[in-house]
Amino acid sequence: MIRLAFTILAGVLLGLVVHLVSVLALPRIATQDAYSRLTPMTKENAVTQLPLADPNTSPMPFMDPAFAQAICRYDLSGGPLKLKVPVSQSYTSVSFYTRNEIAYYAINDRSAGKKVIELDLMTEAQHNALPEDEEVTAADRLIIDSPSATGLIVMKALAAEPGLMTQAQASLATATCTPQTDAPAKAETPRGRR
């Protein structure tokens, strides 16, 4: 009898350990997470328009059908990234996720305060390696530190009414996400029409 009770006790205690380990390990071992789902349908370091949320072809669960969405799947190992998202008529936001879907930063058109949301994305090491004076000359440059070298940038434009969806999609179509290969950050002119 005691032996049975001991077995159950040991089983439950071990079970708790299994539970904690599996919860903590899940982000690392999951294969159906958003990043893995989006990988086959998105380009690296470029903007990909997502199809509209629809009962049959949603790439992710719980997508908001009122939004046009675009993804930039990034890899910063080759250098920092420059992101430009033109603001649509009603509401535009840009959210940043790590490889394991942690939302570490999000900004909307109002907090950006400009017609185009312009951001530089880099790892902390790349940020520290920036020359001091360059940061001063580009004081209005918004620099985001990514905690991981890879991740996702999600750009969203709201279509407040279904008829405005084409407009929202068109504004996202001019968004760019390009690697900064050369040292002077402002060397490249934006290709977006405005």
Partner: protein, 192 residues
């Protein structure tokens, strides 16, 4: 021999308890960091870098991307104000006022997070397209058959979930009560 059987039983029990608890918590969600107002529940911390491990596991398992705090906050409801599970064959009314936000959207999903097909291709409402009364309040009728005013079709599915998303809103990690965020009521008004 007996020792082997005992050990195996204990290990088997451990696996069942451990995996079972993980499955339960990632399916149903936990109360950690949850903000419940009426029938609505939000987890504002999932949109920040200090998200709790249970929410992280749930997010990764479902394959969704949580809404970032600088973007907005998402409330879900799977039952009405009287804790009756939302049934697509019944008439449900969502009414009242909403917390301050630049925009909000209300969307209907099945329990797995897919939109529900319907002939109108209407999956939800935005704050801008809703028909309101003169005092600014609104009523959304959620039913399988068409209703006048703001009708959101359910496609007659048995169980569904509502998601109420606020964009550019002061509601977030610091919000505690109904007073900070007056959420709309959900009432089942009739079942066939």
């Amino acid at each position: 021999m007996r020792l082997i059987i005992i050990t195996l039983t204990a290990l088997l029990l451990a696996t069942v308890v451990g995996v079972g608890a993980t499955w339960m918590t990632t399916t149903r969600g936990t109360d950690i960091g949850a903000l419940t107002i009426g029938a609505w529940t939000a987890r504002p911390r999932t949109g920040t870098a200090d998200v709790d491990p249970y929410s992280r596991a749930t997010i990764v398992r479902n394959g969704e991307l949580p809404i970032g705090t600088g973007d907005g906050v998402a409330f879900t409801a799977t039952a009405d104000d009287r804790k009756k599970a939302l049934d697509g064959r019944c008439d449900v009314v969502v009414s009242g006022v909403t917390p301050p936000a630049r925009f909000w959207t209300l969307t209907l999903y099945d329990r797995k997070g897919h939109l529900v097909a319907n002939s109108l291709q209407r999956y939800g409402f935005t704050s801008q397209e809703i028909v309101r009364q003169s005092d600014g309040s609104f009523e959304i009728h959620i039913a399988s058959r068409s209703r006048s005013g703001n009708w959101l079709p359910t496609g007659g599915i048995e169980r569904y979930a509502l998601m109420f998303r606020l964009y550019d809103t002061p509601v977030g990690v610091a919000t505690r009560t109904q007073r900070d965020a007056p959420m709309p009521q959900i009432a089942t008004v009739g079942c066939p």
